[in-house]
Symmetry: C2
Subunit: 376 residues, 2 copies
Amino acid sequence: MKFNLIHTETNSKARAGELHTAHGTIETPIFMPVGTLGTVKGVHQRELKNDINAQVILGNTYHLYLRPGTDTVEKAGGLHKFIGWDKPILTDSGGYQIFSLSHKRKLSEEGAAFKSHIDGSSHFFTPESVMDIERIIGADIMMAFDECTPYPCDYNYAKNSMELTHRWLDRCVKQFENTSSKYGYEQALFPIVQGSVYKDLRIKSAEYIANKSSFGCAIGGLSVGEPEQEMYEMTNLVTEVLPKNKPRYLMGVGTPTNILEGISRGIDMFDCVMPTRNARHGLLFTSKGVINIKNVKWKNDFSAIDENAHTFADTMYSKAYLRHLFSCNELLGAQIASIHNLGFYLWLVTQARTQILNNTFEQWKNDLIPNLNKRL
Amino acid sequence: MKFNLIHTETNSKARAGELHTAHGTIETPIFMPVGTLGTVKGVHQRELKNDINAQVILGNTYHLYLRPGTDTVEKAGGLHKFIGWDKPILTDSGGYQIFSLSHKRKLSEEGAAFKSHIDGSSHFFTPESVMDIERIIGADIMMAFDECTPYPCDYNYAKNSMELTHRWLDRCVKQFENTSSKYGYEQALFPIVQGSVYKDLRIKSAEYIANKSSFGCAIGGLSVGEPEQEMYEMTNLVTEVLPKNKPRYLMGVGTPTNILEGISRGIDMFDCVMPTRNARHGLLFTSKGVINIKNVKWKNDFSAIDENAHTFADTMYSKAYLRHLFSCNELLGAQIASIHNLGFYLWLVTQARTQILNNTFEQWKNDLIPNLNKRL
């Protein structure tokens, strides 16, 4: 695996790069659709590939460990084969899900005890066991096991949590280095910067992560409830510290605006459930603003869903038809909206890349953001 | 519009034909996927066309009248344009839905008063108003407004109901002839044979319908709870009476076996919610039997969903993956299963047509049916 930083914009920190993996090249900046359980909700794999132009998708260690279980994923020959997806996959380590989903979690030096959100059964994750599971899943990019610090949290909690994450990282690295890919292709480990919204902690954590011989770097614990300005400030601080020759991944972010602001601060990779989750609620992102397709104003609007069509779904179906599908709670509504939103997100990062290469990103971003936040 | 009867099998009543409409030719026998509200649940229009090879789909007058409403369909320029489907459409008249879905229905000579199953609002359908709505929807094939006789029902109820359906038919024909297509292409009216499971009534109704100058003929009120042998017997009686040069449509039927037995008795057209509804419950029809994909036996079965692949979904995804999606209640599960089942139904009727043209249908059917009914 290899990351080539191709260009950094002259008047911002925005970067264009290429991340080469065994399953193909990812052009950065990139948005990664979230396929928690090995499926991007409502979207066929061939639609992801051919219509949305997804270059990499996410799977989730916590969810896949519980269902279908690592035994099934291993017997299938890894997640790529299990789900029928031959492009890159990144797996979240479960740190965030234990924090947000599971019951009665209890963290110790050794690891995290938690109860399944599905059936209440008891489980225990350690940095070592998570590495083992991610090896079995076979993701091209494996995330280190961390504690996702809640927000708000006091300084001492944030500091202790960050230090635990660092100690866990050392164990992740050791386990990662002592094991190898099960399926004959290279996997990479990304450590995660924590530190909540405390500047000194974020810098300290970034320095710790920067000194690791990892392939890339991630920023976790943001977009968890803090004001957007704090997210941007922390991102900016951290990317000042992280090595320039490694890809940077801002986890769980965000709105189209968040993504552009992240790119501007030197982030290369993003993921978020927002485009698919909002789609299922009838909220469509467009370059002119957000459409609530359930609104009666679209009842007889037979124009294309998005005239700046990024996928077949935008021109094949009208706003009135999509509204009708949502009014009737028809499956196809969620399917169309999900394809639209993901197509828009992928268009956004592809367009950002073009602008970066032209040194026009910052201006383009500043012109676009006021539109993105309109309510149509 | 034109129907060409191309061939009748030498050793059964099975027929192969061509039904020419303004939106293309339908090769019969045919199965028509049900798109009640202008969407075949969980399936994109381009999947219907390119993957499932659907030649005609159904819409429903009752449902479309309630949502999005005929005004919206008319403003869109008809249902084809509204939903983005340029192949033929057939619309059910609402007779069956008033019988099965609506509340407090009250039939009179004039028509049917009913309350919406959605919001309890009051509505009144007459043969004339239904023709007007179907003109607005713009279906290539419009069904006459009938009373779908419940099962069981006594002889007198069945006789009176049938006679009402006949009088309503006369009014439908008159209204149909006094109106014209709104969108510049030809529409056809299909009258419906009723008569419950009473032989003399079915024959009388078939004779009444046979004497109408309609383009095709439909058989209603079957597959509503009666034993299969009665359905087959009634179908056989009716097709003896119906004119040979018109297409015959057995409404709401049925299982793969029902369809083959219907074809054997001279039926050309079928529709049923079964392939899509059962798909959403994880039941897959195959030529080797029925698969309940939720069963734990498929947990680690990484073979193709159906080795006799009829669509991309059958080979792109494994049984184990599809089971996983159903276990997690993921949208993609219903999507894949719906494409599979519809692909299988369309394969079945296409294969039946080939066998009819070779005069091998009856034998092929008898060999296949024992497999179709197996539980895998």
